[in-house]
Amino acid sequence: MKFSPTVECPIWESGADDLLKGARGVLGVSGMQHVEPANIAKVLREHRTNPARPFPVLYDLTAVDESQRRKRPDSDDHRFTLQYLLWAPERSETLLLKVPLKGDAPHVATATAVYMNANWYEREVFDMFGIRFDGHPNLRRILMPDWWKGHALRKDHPNRATEMPPLVITESDLGEYDNYDYVPTPGDSYMRTRGKNGGELLILNLGPNHPGTHGVLRVILTLNGEYMEDVCPDIGYHHRGAEKMAERQTFHTYIPYTDRVDYLAGTYNELPYVMACEQLAGIGVPPRAVMIRVMLGEIYRICNHLVWFGTLGHDVGAMTPVFYTFRERESLFKIVEMITGGRMHPNYLRIGGCSMDLPPGWQEPLKVFLKHFDKHLLEYKNLLLDNPIFKSRTKGVGKMPLSECWEWGVTGPNLRASGTDFDLRKRAPYCGYEQFDFEIPMASEGDCYARAVVRHAEMHESAKIIEQCLRLMPDGEVMSRDNRFAFPPRKSETMMDIEALINHFLAVGWGLNMPAGESFVMTEQPKGNSGYYVISDGRTSPYRLRIRTPSFAVMQTLPELCRGHLLSDLLAVIGAMDFVLADIDR
């Protein structure tokens, strides 16, 4: 079989004129529609219920501050554009609704009545842009603390901490909020003091500094005995402004930052970002680079699932599996280190290819790993999956039916545990995934055990893909020769030819002038469906970068999964849902 990925299709040639004018629609979405602010709830409902072409999933909701944008594709007089990205997974169709909003503090009707998961997305837009949603049930800041002044993703908000005075919090800064952290107050749903059978309710903060929450996640629990009456995840403790950072990095220098979004997924974060940039630039990628991307991506998928498997075991009280899985992860990291030079943050992909070719002798350690991996998978199965205590802790816990998964925008293995085999790698293949032979594992129960089984099986499938990469790795370059956007080969040309050196120097030091336009790519990350939305206004850094992460979507479902269960089940659910805080907060 000859590996010929389909991405080798320079759209540059077809639409050069449009591209120069910056007037090419949005690349990577199937349709776009401008909606007046007053109509948005109605239009959303229409699209959701349209019998011919329904869009059952609200994939993403975000906004763009248009105030400093050059080459604006539409009228010039609105301050914000609200973007609803609707998704019909079964048809692989995406629809972008753009809502222009005028004025400095606009209002718009909430979408929570149509799409339940709009709740957190609207809170995020409110937090980051100051756009208010009328009728929203709980319009509080979500990532920043309540007392924060300003809205971080507006263009007039400082880009760096050094542009702001040192942050000193005094009583007066806190204003009406009497505490640094959000404290449930009387009147909240959390402060019902009496349970239905007379006992008083205990308000318990689980996190942000807690050994069981996988990072700085805070969950406010209302406990009746040990039963969780109400569960409220409070996120934002890991917020670093990854989207804001993109606005002051060049297109290339932002790649290392993507590594840190889902820090367990390595190159799989870089992949949707560089794919979105390549789509924007209209350049292709050589087959060898594509296959390297696939191979590294699957290696990181295994790494991610290994960490997840070990920590799930630890969350339900088994201390040993985590050491076994980290042992295998370590041997994979050695391979990754040999190929990329990095471990968790490889910074390896480049716009137009990969930063360097595979080192000589790269196959041997991979072959050794693959030879033993199935044996180890069996070991994990015996140790944890077949353990009756583990089964009793996870079966029937944290159930989510398929319809609700779509409702909440839950994707990835969590979705496939609820009885579908939806996987972008099969349904909307990218990077030539359609040319690989692998299965999509699925389970139908939708509980924590099903999630465990699905991910365990996925590790085996990823190993199969890696094995095929080993056999089929094509020869050739690993970098596009389109030197307007891709770097020339370092050793053979840059070091030999002064023109190439100047070119390279400018591209790295100053950055590339990316053609104006908007580009969207979604990929199947280890944790689920991740989408990067890049807006360029023709300068060297993104005008706006939106990262839609799977963890954010799944964390929003935590109350649904946990209500009425025991405190111990919360940890099983958290362990099985597979998130990292950096992926939630960005």
């Binding site: 050994p211 339900v316 050491f323 205590i389 111990s568």
Partner: protein, 346 residues
């Protein structure tokens, strides 16, 4: 009953020392026992860390002294000199008493454990030794509950609550399983129970009772898979969240002394105590206890944690019926074949 007690009391050799000499002997025996206990508990921690590390592909503490043998010493000094957190929100006296209670109850029980046939290997051969063990083990739970309550911290309170839930789950099967042993031995004295096993170990007569007791004993020790009161992923450190320094160390000490105690009890009532060929009796006892301590460590490396409603189900729906059936069957068996047990007193 009364003649049985008289029988048991008259069993030891009738050498009667004067009172002051008895006192001196008791002090010496007690001091030796305490020294051995503390050392063994410290090294049980060390052994656990090394064995767990070995099972998990790690190295474990190996820096202090050859093979890390001085690690327990370093730990003790560290814990002694750590800051004594003295939380103003806690109930002072109960807060201080809680760690002392578990240390005292678990160490006190060792007074009735026979390490060998002679009088020198036991502090005092109480004729109700088995009941003494059961009573003190129930008292030990108070330590956990009081620690949880007096800390005045939510995680600690949840831990204390779980400890009660756990106690009411495992204690019935545990004491019922021991009824089987009493049936076979006809005495509560631990030494005589061992003597009664000179022919056949009780594990052979009642494997079911052994299994029930073993599970209940792991629950009693509050270790994985029954470490609910201190489940660190769920309630941080449970009942000892607010404890530091030596008070924390006393909980630790209590836990490891409990492990050894439960191993001793299992060895004494089911595995024939000091009986065994070739080697001297106390050494056999030590080997059996060592193997059981290893077993405790091993299951910690293997199992996930139960949820506390599952533990209650396990205790009431599985262990309790099994233990009741075990008592009836054992009694019938022993009445039908009285020759099964050729004990000392019988």
């Amino acid at each position: 009953m009364s003649e049985m007690i008289a029988l048991a009391a008259s069993a030891p050799p009738a050498v009667v020392y004067p009172l002051y000499l008895q006192a001196i002997i008791a002090i010496v025996k007690g001091a030796v026992l305490l020294f051995v206990l503390l050392t063994l508990a410290a090294y049980a921690v060390f052994a656990e860390r090394r064995i767990l590390a070995f099972m998990q592909g790690r190295v474990g503490p190996n820096r202090a002294g050859p093979f890390g043998f001085l690690q327990p010493l370093a730990d003790v000094f560290k814990l002694l000199t750590k800051e004594e957190a003295n939380p103003p929100f806690a109930d002072k006296w109960l807060y201080y008493a809680a760690p002392a209670i578990i240390t005292i109850t678990s160490m006190l029980t060792f007074a009735v454990i026979p390490f060998g046939p002679s009088d020198w290997f036991i502090i005092t051969d109480l004729n109700v030794g088995l009941l003494f063990f059961l009573a003190l083990s129930s008292l030990g739970v108070y330590s956990i509950v009081l620690a949880g309550w007096s800390s005045n911290s939510k995680y600690a309170a949840l831990g204390g609550l779980r400890a009660t839930a756990q106690m009411i789950s495992y204690e019935l099967p545990m004491s019922l399983a021991l009824v089987g042993v009493v049936l076979a031995a006809g005495t509560f004295s631990l030494r005589e129970i061992v003597c009664a096993q000179s022919g056949l170990w009780f594990i052979v007569i009642q494997p079911v009772g052994f299994a029930v007791f073993l599970i209940a004993a792991v629950a009693e020790s509050r270790r994985t898979p029954f470490d609910l009161p201190e489940a660190e992923n769920e309630i941080v450190a449970g009942f000892h969240t607010e404890y530091s320094s030596m008070k924390f160390a006393l909980f630790f000490l209590g836990e490891y002394v409990s492990i050894m105690l439960l191993s001793c009890i299992i060895a004494v009532v089911y595995l024939g105590g000091w009986h065994g060929p070739w080697l001297p009796p106390p050494l056999w006892m030590l080997i059996k206890v060592g193997a059981l301590v290893f077993f405790f460590i091993w299951i910690r490396a293997t199992f996930p944690r139960l949820r506390y409603d599952h533990l209650m189900e396990l205790g009431w729906k599985w262990l309790l019926p099994l233990a009741i059936a075990n008592v009836v069957i054992t009694a019938a068996l022993l009445l039908a074949f009285p020759k099964l047990v050729q004990g000392a007193g019988k």
